[in-house]
Symmetry: C2
Subunit: 362 residues, 2 copies
């Protein structure tokens, strides 16, 4: 078996596969990537149990067959190759990789040692890949990292007629991103946040086809197929806790606000949940923080609206900065009294909404 | 006391001081930076016991006095300031920092809590700071990281009439960088490698004045004064182990050789000391490596000279790559037989020499 392939294309595909396949595993088969040679293509596949990936690269192929090789070593060798083109020659035991004046002979493993993976051909749903990535990447930050409640370590994907929405929450804050496009499917899925990160990195432009199967979401682009294992359990009904009216709303530049909050929060303590206090009155938001090293404040000019002349509210500064971080222009913050959550939206893009539960004042 | 100062100048100086002053310490005084206000200058000083630093920034100052403040918090606040100018107002208890719409009040500590540091005024030696940095940064990599022999975790500075030389070794490899300039001092000093790294970052252009005192080297530039604690013990006599004749020498492009060695070494194992084998004959250097994953090779064209037609030698690939890394053009490698070390020099810059002890062949 002989293959001629572009070094850069091979490195790109292996880069994706290596993100999934673990470098080391107590199950040694899991660190293998399977290579299948077919007419005009090399097909790589691997798994980390939570996600399966199969990615193909166009190549001149003579012969056919399947072998397996440790994914990380193969990826390191391919990235280091000196030439633009790569020649692979395979027998049952070794793969010779030649590029420029360099050659290496990698020991092969029988393909049966690699995980058995299957992909459905029946993908009836469809979304724009860029839009799906945008939805997932806007909300990813709000998922929990500690296991306060396991389901919060996932990102919910709501697929319904006329709408597609990604939602994440850790119980103290929530973010959703709403797409007007319809996938053609109807399901509520929770994907592990780690798998969502890989999807954000692997999917790019074009169309992604979708299917919901037994405990998993299948995705396919023109050159990559993925299975994502779903989380069990149901996501709490978040819509009923989003307030619908607010005494005060402010609109201001998202980046400037985020920098001001971060700067003031330098004086906040971990013992006070990284607390910053905000007081809005007469078109000015006064941000203050206090801790063992001292206290700080900054005034930010805002476009103030609402039924009441002033409001005081306190937040974990990190939650506020995270909520504003996906926005590049203005942010509109609708502030609630007492323990009711406040809501941040992008005036230019009504698809994004973030909600943050305040810290107790007084 | 009131100070007006440029934000960027203040941030630069604090950046240097923060590299020395530890963020946390079991001795809380050690994490403080002392601020001394004098006419037209703010002077910062601190220590990590191995190095003392004093750095000054020009400023409009009203009043005089000394206070101390936690270095890391002060640095974080200054870097985050929104304006180009900073106003500091100090009393005994607090420093108010105002810039743009932001202000913070940092708790001050009595200056007596900060380490007591003194700097000699009597600096009779002198070197070009850029040249000293160049010498130290060429050899730093060769110092030991593990405590095989404590003195090897330092960089030797040889100050003699007509020569200045930096030397580092870990017993398996050695590097020196020779300057033709004379400091005017005569001493052999060993500086801790960690302190050498800070010197490389802190010193820049201009002249550095030098003095050797009781167990320390004092350095001064126009705005910064430093004391570096010296290591005790004497550096082995390395010159007698540098071979003077070699059966084969090769000259080739340093970067291309380094990349080829790194590429081939991907198949080398930790169990074989990351071993690469080299065989030179007929103007070609054949580089090979072998390990559990397979074996690899690459041929590099070299300009070969010497009394013998061929030579085989093996190295730890990392040592070879490190030795060549400071060179941007050609490298000339003089190869020895058996266990004698090989020597790498820069044909364009005779000041640099690296020596690597080979691995046993056969």
């Amino acid at each position: 078996m002989k293959v001629h392939v572009s070094k850069n294309q091979l490195a790109d595909v292996l880069g994706h596969v290596e993100r999934i396949v673990p470098a080391r595993s107590s199950n040694p088969g899991l660190s293998l990537v399977k290579l299948a040679l077919s007419e005009n293509a090399l097909v790589f596949s691997g798994s980390n149990m939570d996600m399966d990936i199969e990615s193909r690269v166009t190549a001149d192929v003579v012969g056919e067959g399947q072998v397996a090789v440790p994914a990380q070593v193969f990826g390191q060798v391919v990235r280091a190759l000196p030439g633009d083109q790569v020649e692979l020659s395979l027998d049952d035991k070794e793969m010779e990789i030649v590029s420029g004046a360099y050659s290496t002979r990698l020991q092969l493993v029988d393909a049966s040692q690699a995980p058995t993976i299957s992909f459905t051909e029946d993908l009836e749903g469809e979304l724009d890949a860029g839009q799906l990535v945008s939805a997932l990447s806007h909300v990813r930050y709000a998922a929990a990292t500690a296991d306060y409640q396991a389901i919060f370590r996932g990102v919910k994907l709501e697929l319904a007629d006329g709408r597609t929405r990604a939602v994440a929450s850790d119980g103290f804050r929530l973010a959703y991103y709403h797409l007007d496009s319809t996938s053609g499917l109807s399901a509520n899925l929770v994907l592990p946040a780690r798998s969502v990160e890989e999807l954000i990195r692997i999917l790019d432009d074009g169309t992604v086809r979708l299917a919901v199967g037994e405990g998993q979401l299948a995705l396919a682009t023109s050159d990559t197929r993925l299975n994502v294992k779903l989380m069990e359990g149901s996501f709490p009904d978040y819509e009923r806790v989003i307030p619908s009216s607010f005494p005060v709303s402010v609109t201001t530049d998202a980046k400037a606000l985020s920098e001001a909050v971060s700067r003031v929060a330098l004086m906040a303590d971990r013992t006070t949940n990284n607390r910053v206090d905000m007081f809005v009155k007469d078109g000015t938001m006064q941000i203050t923080a206090e801790g063992g090293f001292g206290r700080s404040q900054e005034a930010v000019t805002v476009n103030q609206q609402g039924s009441e002349p002033e409001i005081a509210v306190a937040f974990n500064a990190k939650y506020l900065v995270d909520a504003v971080s996906p926005l590049s222009g203005q942010v509109c913050i609708s502030l609630s009294r007492d323990t009711a959550p406040s809501v941040m939206v992008d005036p230019e893009n009504p698809g994004y909404l973030a909600m943050v539960v305040p810290l107790r004042t007084g």
